[in-house]
Point group: C2
Chain length 397, copies 2
């Protein structure tokens, strides 16, 4: 009687694994600034909650496996705002973006297959790949080139007979990089040439700064049958606890497969779908003030952290994360030390150690991912504490 | 560019696969009685909705991966009512019972491993086993012996070096059978002797009739480290659309593994957990009238259907399903015909063909699963229509 190998091998979330340590710090009376997790502090729109409060069915019944028809139609209208044409049967609602990733990966890969992903990447992709038996083949990107993609030939050199897909996240978690239309088009050419799928996690599409345009893989002509987009309302409407995501694809065979996966878990949560329908009814300019708020925070974070010339970071073009290279020997040890052994006036900072965002061993050892999801004064204070932590950590005996 | 093998192999839900056909019937103006799906018509307790309406946090944030602490404590109290002692860290909240199944199976099996399950079994187990690469080894049970377990030696003969667990569902979906304390104890002896896990889906535990006692595998002494229980509020509180389940286990290593799986999907939906906390506050006698209602329906269904002596069924001891053997050549064809080509005064019945509940090829071909989740007059009418359908189906040229 023993644990399965997959249970032993699946990594603990680097974003959440220090939670117990953070709770101990809080129990000692230390205020912990959470820069570790992409949990926005922007209020969830009142329309979302109002929609749910108005729900008047006597029985909270199973919904359709592919989601409430009204939500699927609403999402079609949402994509139309971006000039992207979809039909409701090209949208399946999932239990969070997490499930959208799992469904897409399972639809196109079998155990032992490979998916090429630029690293650093959203750490939970490691979890899905362990569970689905798929090997992530990383394309390493670097702060120096803004975490943008290397030459297509370099990506092409990673393709093997086992490669099934290239998967990206844009705007990127954890780097904040927004891949350009040119980059996306060259990935399109690549997957077409090698008969692969192209999967994109586009949950941060509203959050781009200084007019940067997000180019969706759904805008690629002539690739309709091999493009799969993963989506979620978690960040868009500050509703992470809702667990409402979606997968969009114009290939009916893929959607048929995903529908079977969806049936196996019956349906996504009903009430939050009702809330999501209401939230999608908000006007497009709802995002204007939020985008400005995040851009201001990004600027404060970059300005404060780079006041230490030994901190290296690429100013993000989107999302609300930054990968910061810190002058510490081991960001894992450092992040734990910040919670266990450090405070400044009873305050400290929680961050996500960088190594968990890479699959290449040894990478990310002096990086951390920071989420700028606190209002500006708190964020500035958190960054100052972080810098003081770096100083004391390096001076300790 | 092709679908994965797992996508091609995963079965379409036999409970839901006729949905499009049923929708066509409805579009023709035919009233369809749904006996195909375990969707209770009992109202969701008002306390559940009230709990959610009272939610006043400004941000619907990520919750803990293992669920809201208050819900975990509430469930500990719930189990205490049955004399079952648990601690909150022996409870992890899942997104529906579906996810509880997936977590438990993934924690104890790797691809190629085997799990022994009495058949007929809850059809979605097939979906999980496809996705996790696990082979279901069926122990066939039969109406003649009330779908109770065969001799332990017969189960033992199915154990191979690849066997990792025995999994049961009691009260059973789809048979309504409640395994006796003696049956459960002999399974306990078996898993101990062969160093296996024992997994039980006990989501229908409140619904047993004529005083039948449900014996939980959590009551087995001396097996604490190898017993895993799967649970859900879907049927208990008529809240199928909530997607709130749980997994209970006293083995910390198993719970550590499940926590890592839980982190990979971040958290279960928050609002429905809030609703569940409120629902669990209802007194134990909340179930008395519901139990009586289901027992009455069971009696009506059994009485009406067995008025045709060629219909064979075992009177269920629990849950709200029955496997009925019908005098038809192929229940799949028959179920589809009932929706496509039959109506009586513009009414027909949808049922779940039996084959999908078996993994032994050829089994269940003249069985259907019926859920008695309609109020008595409708249920009686549905059963009469079903019998008339059988008559006309067999008389057609």
């Amino acid at each position: 009687m023993k644990l399965s190998q997959r249970a032993r091998e699946i990594q603990e979330s680097p974003i959440r694994k220090l939670s117990a340590t953070a709770n101990s710090a809080k129990a000692r009376g230390v205020n912990v600034y959470h820069l570790n997790i992409g949990q926005p502090d922007i209020p969830t729109p009142e329309a979302f909650f109002e929609g749910i409060r108005r729900y008047a069915e006597p029985v909270l019944a199973y919904g359709p496996s592919d989601g409430l028809p009204e939500l699927r139609r609403t999402m079609v209208n949402y994509f139309a705002r971006f000039g992207i044409t979809l039909t409701p049967d090209q949208v399946i609602i999932t239990t969070g973006g997490s499930e959208a990733v799992a469904f897409a990966v399972n639809a196109v890969t079998d155990p032992g297959d490979e998916v090429i992903i630029p690293e650093p990447f959203y750490t939970n992709y490691n979890g899905y790949s362990s569970l689905s038996g798929v090997r992530i083949v990383p394309v390493t990107t670097a702060a120096e080139s803004g975490y943008h993609l290397p030459d297509p030939a370099q990506i092409e050199s990673l393709i093997t007979p086992k490669t099934r897909a290239v998967m990206i996240c844009s705007p990127n978690n954890p780097t904040g990089t927004v891949f350009t239309e040119k980059e996306i088009r060259s990935l399109g050419d690549l997957v077409k040439k090698h008969d692969l799928f192209l999967i994109a996690d586009e949950v941060y599409k509203e959050f781009t700064y200084e007019g940067t345009r997000h180019f969706s893989i759904l805008e690629l002509d002539d690739l309709e049958d091999r493009v799969i987009v993963l989506d979620s309302i978690s960040k868009r409407y500050s509703a992470c606890g809702a667990r409402i995501g979606a997968v969009m694809c114009r290939n009916p065979e893929i959607m048929g497969a995903i529908m079977k996966f969806a049936q196996a878990r019956l349906c996504p949560p009903t009430l939050e779908q009702v809330g999501a329908i209401a939230a999608y009814g908000l006007p497009k300019d709802y995002f204007d003030s939020i985008r400005k708020e995040y851009q201001d925070r990004r600027d404060i974070l970059v300005e404060t952290l780079t006041s230490n010339p030994d901190v290296l970071l690429h100013k993000p073009e989107g999302a609300f994360y930054v990968m910061a290279t810190l002058p510490v020997d081991d960001s894992d040890t450092f992040a734990r030390w910040m919670l266990e052994s450090f405070d400044q006036n009873h305050e400290t900072v929680m961050m996500a150690p960088g190594a968990g965002f890479y699959s290449t061993a040894g990478k990310g050892k002096n990086e951390v991912r920071l989420a700028y999801v606190l209002e500006s004064p708190k964020l500035r204070r958190a960054c100052e504490i972080l810098l003081e932590g770096v100083r004391q950590y390096n001076n300790k005996s």
